[in-house]
């Protein structure tokens, strides 16, 4: 009741959805909708690829420490070892990956979301 009072718009959305759940034929069948399928596939793909990249960066770094200390200990310049920019690089890359995700989501994903949302809400 609380929600209904405060947010009539939300209630309307819920109402439509109930229609669909009760098998109302005029409702939008999202399961077979091209845009929805495209959207859910793209989202899983991007999420999984970026997750694997992040795992690769961090565990790659850990493996270097475990198996190739010499490389990390070698001198990049006269005063800095290779290991320092690599460690900082893992931190910076993690942030860049989240930036890539946000960029993709804001520019591609949200467009599809809006498309499907408009269809569902009629």
């Amino acid at each position: 009741m609380y929600l209904i009072k405060c947010r009539p718009a939300l209630y309307a959305v819920n109402y439509k959805k109930e229609d669909y759940m009760s098998g109302n034929k005029t409702s939008f069948n999202f399961k077979d909708d091209k845009d929805f399928i495209k959207l859910s596939r793209q989202k899983s793909f991007v999420s999984i690829v970026l997750t694997i990249l992040e795992l690769f960066f961090y565990f790659g770094f850990i493996s270097l420490i475990a198996f190739n200390k010499q490389f990390l200990s070698s001198m990049l310049t006269e005063r800095i070892t290779v290991g320092i920019p690599i460690a900082v690089g893992v931190i910076v890359m993690s942030w860049i990956l989240t930036g890539i995700y946000v960029y993709w989501a804001n520019n591609t994903y949200d467009v599809l979301v809006k498309k499907v949302k408009d269809k569902v809400e009629g």
């Binding site: 959305v13 399961k31 997750t51 850990i62 420490i65 005063r79 800095i80 993690s94 989240t98 949200d110």
Partner: protein, 565 residues
């Protein structure tokens, strides 16, 4: 360097501290008027913007232990401290890619909302609440003990007083101001901490002509090239991977972090908030590492370790050396604020597991009215706050470092697998979820007891110390012998014989070292792996057609946000 005033009650730090407390209490008063409904108490009325939430997430996550601890570790161990700090950031992208948006779209106040979305409410809520509470309690005890110790070191305030002050303030914020006050305490703390650390780094770099090469060069000149090279932190790769997994996926299973995503209006803001949070936290760790190297060069390992063996006072000492008593006082007050923001977030998360998941979800079968639920949440806040104080005092002087590792292991093993599978996997069933949560919880907690972290370092610590003493004695004796042989210009064979004898002796002594039944220091690899495996097997064996039917609807809500609150 002049005599340090660290450990004394200093008027400047007291003044800064009172200023912080006064302003946060004013905010709490303001927030109290806006904290009546459950949505307001748990989620600040979903009124926080993505940027604000990014700062608050950073404030929730960056603990005093990581600020003082990592700076200390870097200043005493060099590069190994840097390796350690990287592990604390890498979970954030995972939160972004796998959890943040579906969590925001599917849930209401806790992560258990998401797991229970299409599964049976009672068993899921009970198990998920257990996972949340164990995570929160261990994290909270570790923070409390850390708070008491650090405040004693910095202000010279007795341990128990420190715990009681921290406990009372955190109860006040959460009890009266709910999530809104907690959020603003965390935002202010994040700004103060990031600002203070930035100033400290600028002051440090000014001593090196704003040239990192100069800083690292001086560090390796002073402590040898090893200071900039990986040392003994990663010796066993499996161990490192296990800890890495716990840190990475544990971040994505911390109830107090997950809860923050419900404070923003929608998934888009949730996504933005992770981006900001990752940036702030990453920047903070880079600053902290710089502070550590700066302290090693400008203050010196010996001075730092003379005050605290763990190096925790590296950052305050550097602040005092570069900015005098005023800056030290400021930084000490910031450290205090840091502790408060983290424990307030934890208390709120624990209270919501008790009131939203257990009271409203299980005891009242989802039919609790708003007023009662808020009331129970407030009682839970007091209960948790008081227990945190008592446990903090009980564990005084104990080695509680393992508790943070355990909290992360439980979060990664009990909370994260169930959360991820409920979002991603159609065939996930109620029995599968319950089995997965309890497997993760019991394995993580059980294995850590028989792991070297607890078994050797705590249970058999006296045996370990005895063997270590024998080894160092043998080393000293042998060194003396080698020196006399060298002085006498003896046959090089005699010297190498002596060295070999020492090696054999050390090996023999090492075999006397108490052995833990479970070899890994952090159980993450095994407990998280088992939680996924058991969750999958049990789900396949107990198929739940109703839950599978609801999956498509869940997907629509998770991706599009239709029907989300």
């Amino acid at each position: 360097m002049a005599q340090s005033i660290i450990g004394q009650v200093h008027p400047v730090s007291i003044a800064f501290f009172f200023l912080f407390v006064l302003s946060t209490l004013c905010i709490t008063y303001w927030a109290a008027k806006r904290t009546r409904t459950t949505k307001e108490f748990y989620a600040a009325g979903r009124s926080i913007t993505g940027f604000q939430n990014g700062l608050a997430l950073a404030g929730d996550y960056m603990s005093a232990a990581s600020f003082l601890g990592i700076a200390g570790l870097v200043s005493t161990k060099g590069y190994d401290g840097l390796i350690y700090s990287v592990g604390w950031l890498v979970g954030w992208p995972i939160v972004m890619f796998l959890i943040a948006e579906p969590l925001r779209n599917l849930g209401k106040y806790t992560f258990a909302d998401v797991v229970a979305y299409r599964l049976k409410r009672m068993p899921i809520r009970t198990s998920a609440a257990a996972g949340s509470l164990v995570t929160v309690l261990f994290y909270l005890i570790a923070q409390m003990v850390g708070a008491g110790t650090l405040i004693k070191l910095m202000f010279g305030l007795p341990y128990e007083y420190a715990i009681v002050i921290v406990g009372c303030l955190m109860i006040a914020y959460v009890l009266f101001g709910g999530m809104l006050a907690t959020t603003w305490v965390q935002i202010i703390k994040a700004v103060l901490l990031l600002g203070g650390a930035t100033v400290l780094v600028i002051l440090t770099l000014s001593k090196f002509g704003f040239n990192y090469g100069e800083l690292f060069g001086s560090a390796s000149q002073k402590y040898g090239p090893e200071f900039l090279q990986p040392g003994g932190l990663v010796t066993n790769p499996v161990d490192a991977i296990s800890l890495g997994l716990a840190l990475m996926f544990g971040t994505a299973g911390l109830p107090h972090i997950l809860m923050r995503f419900y404070t923003v209006p929608d998934a888009k803001e949730a996504r933005k908030s992770v981006f900001y949070a990752t940036g702030f936290i990453g920047y903070f760790y880079i600053l902290t590492v710089t502070i550590g190297f700066g302290a090693a060069v400008l203050v010196g390992k010996k001075v730092i370790m003379a005050i605290d063996k763990g190096g925790n006072m590296a950052a305050p000492l550097l602040a005092e050396a570069l900015g005098g008593h005023v800056f030290l006082g400021f930084l000490a007050a910031v450290a205090f604020a840091t502790i408060l923001a983290v424990v307030a977030g934890l208390t709120l998360a624990g209270a919501s597991a008790l009131s939203h998941d257990l009271y409203a979800g299980v005891f009242r079968r989802g039919q609790a009215n708003e007023k009662d639920e808020v009331k129970v949440a407030k009682i839970a806040t007091i209960g948790l706050g008081v227990s945190a104080m008592l446990l903090g005092i009980l564990f005084k002087g104990q080695n509680v470092a393992f508790m943070v590792g355990l909290a992360f292991a439980v979060a990664a093993s009990a909370n994260f697998p169930a959360l991820l599978m409920s979002i991603m996997w159609k065939k996930f069933s109620t029995s599968g979820a319950v089995a997965s949560i309890w497997t993760g919880l019991i394995l993580a907690a059980g294995l850590i007891i028989i792991s070297p972290t607890v078994w050797v370092d705590i249970v058999h610590s006296s045996e370990k110390a005895a063997v270590e003493k024998q080894i160092s004695e043998a080393e000293a004796q042998s060194k003396a012998k080698v020196e006399t042989l060298e002085k006498a210009a003896a046959d090089p064979k005699a010297i190498s014989d002596e060295k070999a004898a020492l090696g054999a002796m050390k090996k023999e002594l090492a075999s006397k070292m108490p052995q833990a039944p479970f070899p890994l220091k952090n159980p993450g690899l095994i407990s998280m792996g088992a939680a996924f495996l058991i969750g999958i097997i049990v789900s396949l064996l107990s198929s739940e057609p109703e839950a599978q039917e609801k999956f498509e609807k869940e997907k629509l809500r998770a991706y599009i946000g239709i029907g989300s609150e």
